[in-house]
């Protein structure tokens, strides 16, 4: 419904944060010329820790740690190749249709 405008709400938030990428993805990103910025990762982690410390989900909380262990287990998995292939395909289709459009 109003999804089309959702991005506007996110405009004020900080630049997309980087998270550590699994190996196959990292290779892909490096191949694309994308550099992962370790510094911003660390700053983000520090910010998250500060914030969580007062809601019982901080570094000393059993529940917080288990939440992150569970989440991290999936996050650290190798990204299935089908997603990388899907993105390649989408990109390809778009490039071709753009080329088509400029020719017309």
């Amino acid at each position: 419904m109003r999804n089309g405008c959702l991005y506007k709400k996110f405009r004020n938030f900080s630049v997309a944060r980087r998270i550590p990428a699994p190996d196959n993805l990292r290779r892909h990103l490096v191949g694309e010329g994308m550099v992962m910025k370790d510094k911003s990762q660390m700053q983000h982690a520090a910010g998250a820790r500060r914030r969580m410390s007062d809601d019982g989900l901080g570094p000393n909380s059993d529940i917080g740690m288990k939440l992150r262990a569970l989440y991290g287990a999936v996050q650290d998995e190798t990204i299935p190749d089908k997603f990388l292939e899907l993105l390649e395909k989408l990109d390809q289709v778009e490039l071709e249709s753009n080329a088509q459009a400029t020719q017309d």
């Binding site: 991005y7 938030f13 989900l57 569970l70 993105l87 989408l90």
Partner: protein, 189 residues
């Protein structure tokens, strides 16, 4: 020689999307409770996001944007099919067994079961805040609710999880619960 290095739209959108995939998968798994469902969700999210990438401004918070799309997708599918939680994801325990973690994998399997018992709104709240690293403001935007609502969902979720984990397996959990609270955090050896 103008090649794709100089075009500024799609290639970098793709990179941003790629960089967010790991956490997007983790979020999808947290919502759906299953790997196969999670990957279907991620695939649908990629397609949707790609189709409306014009509505996204590069440099803004793509993670929150993608999480919003995935979450909407999840709830619209759930309305159609219902949530199938029960752990047919036996794969899960297997996968956890090889993941390096300070917790035993059975411990985390119990935790996942407890998480699955939470109402959907509380589960997503505690994950977005506790694991995905969003601020309350961002999480509230993603879930289209008030910041105060988000806070109370998180605290109810935490209380409920505490209850569930203490009740399950009293015997083997008892002494450990205390020692983990005291000694929590990685050892500084």
């Amino acid at each position: 020689m103008a090649n794709d290095k100089t075009t500024n739209g799609p290639p970098s959108f793709k990179r941003e999307l790629l960089a967010t995939l790991p956490s997007l998968r983790a979020f999808a798994f947290s919502l759906s409770g299953r790997h196969d469902k999670a990957d279907d969700l991620v695939q649908d999210t990629i397609m949707k996001a790609w189709a409306k990438q014009e509505s996204f401004e590069l440099g803004t918070n793509i993670k929150a944007w993608l999480f919003t799309i995935l979450r909407n997708e999840f709830y619209s599918q759930m309305r159609k099919r219902g949530r199938e939680v029960q752990d047919s994801d036996g794969l899960f325990t297997e996968r956890m067994a090889v993941h390096p973690s300070q917790f035993g994998h059975m411990d985390l399997a119990d935790f996942k079961k407890a998480l699955d018992q939470l109402p959907d709104d509380q589960r997503e709240a505690v994950i977005l805040i506790g694991a995905s690293g969003f601020s309350y403001e961002e999480a509230a935007e993603i879930c289209t609710c008030a910041v105060g609502t988000m806070k109370s969902r998180v605290s109810r979720a935490r209380a409920r999880l505490q209850d569930l984990l203490q009740v399950s397996g009293e015997g083997d959990y008892g002494p450990d619960a205390i020692s983990t609270q005291v000694t929590s955090g990685p050892p500084v050896s």
